[in-house]
Subunit: 233 residues, 2 copies
């Protein structure tokens, strides 16, 4: 232990980050093993472990049993994106939230939706198209398919008071999902719903969620022009 003790896991993490940033430990280098760092810092190995484990999860370190810990060569940076309920996202900007259900029908989905949900060909789903507005301006257009086998109660809901987005988050527990971010060129139909020009670039989020009971819902959100999704690291 050369300097003052570094006893909290955050202090350890900061110190390790600093050494990597200052090239004391260079990309590809092995760093001392946990027990040795614990001795140097004057703390328990568990403390070092927690600090290093999180750095490994961030992609800054590569850790392998027996081999040891090394500074990652090409660090994979992990951006975390918080996806909250649309109403809260809009209200957080200080705007007035409203939603309007444009389409509500029970029918068999097109093939691409069947693919994504992994459901049978003839199976009917609840199809909902909803426009969410911020201070009256179109914010996002939601095109959603809900599996009534996984969520029978959805058939009794009119979604006049609560949006499909919020109702599902509140009422239906889900265990997993996948997200795809992309861009699309606005079609005349999208342009009309979002009150924008045809041929504008629009930000798109596709999401499919499931639980133990099977696939719950598959949804495409098409955002208004200029929408940005931000995150920090």
């Amino acid at each position: 232990m050369t300097g003052p003790a570094i006893r909290s896991w955050q202090a350890v993490q900061d110190e390790v980050r600093r050494r990597i940033a200052r090239r004391v430990w260079k990309p590809g280098d092995y760093i001392p093993h946990e027990a040795e760092l614990a001795r140097e810092f004057g703390c328990a190995r568990a403390t070092v472990n927690r600090a290093l484990r999180e750095l490994a999860e961030e992609g800054l370190l590569d850790r392998r049993r027996k081999a040891g810990t090394r500074v990652a060569l090409n660090p994979v940076r992990r951006a975390r994106i918080d996806i909250q309920v649309i109403r809260e996202e809009i209200e957080a900007k200080g705007a007035a939230f409203r939603h309007a259900v444009l389409v509500r029908e029970l029918r068999a989905p097109p093939p691409d939706i069947r693919d994504r949900m992994g459901t049978g060909a003839g199976q009917a789903m609840l199809h909902l198209r909803t426009l969410y507005t911020a201070d009256g301006a179109p914010y996002v257009h939601e095109d959603r398919w809900v599996n009534p086998e996984a969520v029978p109660a959805v058939l009794d809901e009119t979604f006049s008071d609560i949006s499909p987005n919020e109702w599902l988050v509140r009422e239906v527990p889900f265990e997993g999902g996948d997200f795809t971010f992309s861009a699309m060129t606005s079609t005349p139909a999208e342009a009309s719903v979002l009150s924008c020009a045809v041929g504008e670039g629009l930000f798109v989020l596709d999401r499919t969620t499931w639980s133990a009971g099977g696939v719950i819902t598959s949804v495409r959100l098409v955002f208004h022009p200029g929408y940005r999704m931000q995150t920090e690291m």
Copy 2:
């Protein structure tokens, strides 16, 4: 302890997830405190703590000292996006990677870039425009500004053998950054570089990174039409 012991933190986490999914614990409910869960599961409190801490980080639980732990009402879902070096992203798809530097000049950046980087008006930066291709097809167009004060070595690099993206990741340690995902409509200039039609929706990633030494670089990546960024939860 009613059933068999649940001794690993993952088993504890799974069990808690199950109880939330099955509505044993409903949104808004307080769940038993750590010590009680440890007794029920037959494990140490630290084990329960690790399981619950991660669930709280995911946004599934709300934890506060003294108040206790409750199931989140409107869970904020966190999608994690891995941002790797472009070369690796392309080679992971089994395609051949190449890059070509289109522009390399030292000059003062436009106001919007100055804003993002928080640098002075007259300060010159290295401006680089680079096209990355996969099997010869345009993949992403990178428009980058590098701060030579933070990275003096950048002025000696021609980027013929290694791309600006990879060089910076390898050579320059950075401590933080922010990301913005959005969509744009392809201008004639972008369309020409990316070999796509004018007016197509394109996926855009803006990133600014810094370290203790100050702002390092600000970059805009404009991806080819049809690009998707995926993640799972």
